[in-house]
């Protein structure tokens, strides 16, 4: 391990024992990663090029499973539904998350700010299973929301809010909201307050200031939040299976079902498609972030 004599701390050549320290410190992390991430992913990729026929795994190289997945309209629907669910959830989270972050930022009283912050962020501590269950109760035909709609707003019959895409989106937006609010809020707190004051002093109204100064400068936070939300929503499993009622068939559920049916090649291909979608999202949002920082 010949280290060039340019290490900033000790320019002189160090004894081997000293030079090994950084490697030894980082080695355990890489060992765990190798055991439960790298090797499993290699096996996963390998299963994706096998095929599964009449209940038997055929371990010969073939792209048949990929071909099946990418040409069958059934799987097209699944991919389309996954992306649509993630997209709607992301838009809803941004529409609720941005004003909420703005309110959290603009609140003057410190105690009110702390309470609002606690309310927004503490649901992270509660299990997704519990929160999804809460939404099934809240959105049920005989639940509080339909009671309100029928009793107060005199709707003729309950609206189907649960066991369909609507319920899944409402619940997922709730689950991911803190992850959207946090990056937006943190770019807002880093915003130089003199910029807004300068704009106001130069005669810009609130709307112009917001449109020309605040919003463009907090856009990186919004993009980052939306990216986190979209990737998390792509991989959401618990909420679609509890609130989808079997009608919202998305990739994570397909992967789970295929694994349970011991059709591992199909599960692997589904997983790789999901991973590809997540990576494309990250690439697009990084490109957007680069533009917005210029």
């Amino acid at each position: 391990m010949a280290e060039p004599a340019k290490a900033p701390v000790k320019p002189a050549k160090e004894p081997l024992r000293r030079r090994a320290v950084p490697w030894l410190l980082i080695a355990p992390a890489f060992l765990v990663m190798a055991y439960a991430f790298v090797l499993p992913m290699l096996v996963f990729f390998r299963y994706s090029v096998y095929t599964f026929e009449r209940g038997k795994l055929i371990d010969e190289f073939s792209l048949a499973t990929y071909a099946e997945f990418l040409t069958d309209p059934y799987f097209h629907t699944i991919i389309f539904d996954t992306v649509r669910m993630a997209a709607i959830t992301t838009v809803c989270s941004a529409l609720i998350g941005y004003p909420l972050a703005y309110a959290l930022w603009r609140v003057n009283s410190p105690s009110l700010k702390r309470w609002l912050g606690l309310i927004i962020f503490s649901p992270i501590l509660v299990s997704v299973v519990v929160r999804s269950y809460g939404w099934t109760v809240l959105l049920a035909d005989q639940g509080p929301i339909n009671w309100f709609l029928q009793t107060v707003l005199v709707f003729p019959e309950p609206i189907k809010l649960v066991f369909n895409l609507t319920g899944v989106v409402i619940s997922l937006t709730h689950v991911f909201l803190p992850f959207v609010v946090f990056p937006i809020f943190s770019t807002m707190t880093r915003l130089d307050p003199t910029l807004r004051e300068a704009a106001m002093d130069l005669g810009a109204g609130w709307w112009t200031t917001f449109r020309r100064v605040t919003f463009p400068l907090t856009l990186p936070g919004l993009v980052a939040g939306m990216q986190i939300c979209f990737t998390l929503a792509l991989g959401a499993f618990v909420t679609p299976s509890l609130l989808g009622g079997g009608r919202v068939l998305v990739l994570p559920l397909q992967i789970y079902t295929a694994t349970a049916d011991i059709n591992w090649p199909l599960a692997a291909v589904g997983g790789i498609v999901l991973l590809a979608l997540a990576m494309v999202t990250v690439l697009i949002s990084n490109r957007l972030l680069r533009y917005s920082e210029v």
Binding site: V21, P22, A36, S127, P144, L275
Partner: protein
């Protein structure tokens, strides 16, 4: 310009939206607590009556106790391993700044992009292949992988802001590297350590997507047990259990807000993690 004025309609609008947001966030948790005291097995609003029967039913369900105990032990083990391994890695990356440091950090953060369900299926296949399926070792290792990126991101950010002259001063005064770390460096990054340990614990405790594939039928963790129960029944026993979990979450919030009362949370907790994924 007028110095004093009534709240502008804009502020009222924003306030109203904040109230709506808070309501939206709290509603599903509040309804769970309300439902847990229901006197009937189906959920109906307004409630038809109140009784503690679901709590009594919950206390008879031994499966949930055991599952909760398993979840706590598993989350503690995964958090402990992730904190030790993650702190060492972050220290190595920030302190020594070798040429491979950026690459190593990117590699350690890479599982962030991977949906947990994909990781779950992948480790399931791998562990079956090598005959390590169903072992505790494999389960803990998987949970460590799930939480390690976050721990590493937060701790590298904290160590990057840490004033390393303090460390050099301590070493010059004769303290060994280990003693320096525990006595000088660690207290300086304690908030980040508490936050990342808490996040790791909660993530591991609530983990469904990976655990689902790794536990045998009799060894379910609490969220798995609840998930499977909900797929069969929807009675308020699960509401009672959820209320107990919400009470625990509130306790954590209370303890944390006392602990962090006089401390400024670093606003750039997650910033590093975005930068590196680019």
């Amino acid at each position: 310009m007028a110095t004093r004025r009534l709240p502008h309609y804009r502020h009222l609008l924003l306030g109203a939206f904040a109230v709506f947001g808070a309501f939206y966030v709290i509603a599903p948790l509040a309804i769970v607590v309300l439902n847990s005291f229901s006197s009937v097995a189906y959920s109906v609003f307004p409630p038809e009556g109140f009784s503690p029967r679901w709590y009594i039913n919950l206390f008879d369900q031994e499966a949930f106790y055991l599952a909760a105990l398993r979840s706590v032990i598993l989350a503690l083990a995964a958090t402990a391993v992730a904190m030790i391994v993650g702190t060492m890695a972050a220290y190595s990356i920030v302190r020594y700044r070798r040429r491979w440091a950026d690459l190593a950090k990117a590699a350690l953060l890479s599982p962030i992009v991977l949906p947990n369900i994909v990781l779950g299926v992948a480790v399931f296949m791998f562990f079956i292949r090598i005959g390590m399926y169903g072992t505790y070792f494999s389960l803990v290792a998987t949970h460590v992988v799930v939480v390690l990126p976050f721990v590493t991101a937060v701790l590298t950010a904290a160590l990057a802001n840490y004033d390393w002259t303090l460390q050099e001063a301590a070493m010059d005064l004769g303290a060994g590297p280990v003693r320096t770390f525990f006595r000088i460096t660690m207290p300086q990054i304690s908030i980040s350590m508490v936050v990342s340990a808490l996040f790791a614990f909660v993530t591991s405790f609530d983990q469904v997507e990976t655990t689902l594939f790794l536990v045998r039928a009799g060894d379910n963790t609490l969220p798995i047990e609840m998930f499977l129960y909900l797929q069969k029944w929807q009675d308020p026993t699960i509401a009672a259990l959820s209320s107990v979990l919400i009470a625990f979450a509130l306790m954590i919030v209370a303890v944390l807000s006392i602990f962090l009362r006089n401390k400024e949370l670093p606003a750039n907790l997650l910033r590093q993690d975005k930068e590196t994924s680019s």
